[in-house]
Amino acid sequence: MKNLKILSLLLFSALIFPSCSNDDEMTNPPVVVEPDFSGTYNLADQMGRPAINTVFIPSNQKDEYNQTIPSDQGAAYAGTIEAGLKALSPAYANDGDQNALGLDAAAFAGVLATDVLTVTLDGTTTFYDGTNVLTGRNLTDDVITVELLLIFGGEDFSENPNLSDDHVDANDKAFNSSFPYLASPW
């Protein structure tokens, strides 16, 4: 009989303890679920200056260029870009040709290959405003015409006028002077 009592007690305990445990949890405040940020993220796409990959990197190397970190891009792609510049632009067809920054094809390619955007912390930020060169990129900057001029415009921006300006000079919506600066969507 005694054994039976003990056995009953054990069975009873086994039934009751899980629910005790549940009761304890119920009395705790609800747990706030933190977002899960775990895991390793792998490089998919990158960009510094506008249109570098698009214009200068051959189609079959665009993905590979995207997977090359900026500190490795110069050594790996300056030659490719120099060849591309010479093939693309009559303003770089002859030895000694330079652009308005005084850069020949090799020097310009060296600048372009490392695809980072330089931004000054000391004043005017602009892609090019007639005075400052590559100190940032504003929403209003006509970056494509600047790049076309540097590619096709020759030493004084006068060469190949039909190729050195796309004649789209501004956005289709006005920007805001305050954060978040970009215009509302269409």
């Binding site: 390793t40 665009k62 970190i69 500190s71 955007l117 912390l121 004043g123 796309d166 004649h167 969507p185």
Partner: protein, 212 residues
């Protein structure tokens, strides 16, 4: 704009941007991790720098409302403060459940192609602005943050450029036609005090998407 659009895309553009979500080009193009543009400029407050990353280009107004940020895509603003093109500071942005979370600026635990979310860094967040909604802006510690659809700020006669490269045109038109007029992008805008990203001098910056 960093377009990696192929000839097929040019044909699609000619048909009225109908298939912008199906851009037929290598790897990331047209997907949620596809960077369309990157900006870095002095803010309205001259003590600040503004970084803009735009993703998922050529969204038509009809498609915009249904377009979201991808929770498996980490957007990383990289800042090189000593001129070696290696990131010394990063600002990360990643969406979770309707909010965009920001980490940093902070020195990354490792540089290069692979990384983790820097959960030890200062964390901020902003509700992702929905299409048609007034921009939701979050401010904390001198930083401002926004995430949501915006008009694509990029402008270019890309269609004509394609014709020139393709040999079917010999020059641009005057006036040109803005291929990106009337289209939207998914934007992440973060404004940060200069003293948090080097203080003075020049920095090299670039944006990356990293996916899980």
């Amino acid at each position: 704009m960093k377009f990696k659009l192929g000839i097929g895309t040019l044909l699609l553009l000619g048909l009225g941007l109908m298939s912008a979500d199906h851009i037929d080009a290598p790897a990331v193009s047209g997907g949620a991790s596809d960077i369309t543009d990157f900006y870095g400029f002095q803010g309205e407050d001259n003590d600040n720098i503004v970084f803009v990353a735009n993703l998922q280009g050529l969204l038509s107004p009809n498609n915009t409302a249904n377009t979201t940020f991808d929770e498996n895509t980490l957007v990383e603003f990289n800042i090189d403060t000593n001129g070696d093109a290696v990131e010394d500071l990063i600002i990360q942005a990643i969406p979770r459940d309707g909010k965009m979370y920001f980490f940093g600026p902070i020195a990354p635990s490792s540089t290069g192609k692979n990384g983790m979310v820097m959960t030890s860094a200062a964390r901020n967040e902003v509700a992702i602005t929905e299409y048609g909604q007034t921009p939701v802006i979050s401010s904390n510690d001198g930083m401002k943050m926004f995430a949501g659809p915006r008009d694509d700020p990029f402008f270019m006669d890309f269609a004509k450029y394609g014709e020139i490269i393709g040999g079917t045109a010999t020059g641009f038109d005057d006036p040109g036609t803005d291929t990106f007029a009337g289209t939207n992008v998914m934007s992440i805008v973060v404004e940060v005090p200069k003293n948090m990203i080097g203080g003075s001098g020049s920095i090299n910056t670039w944006v990356e998407t990293k996916t899980k």
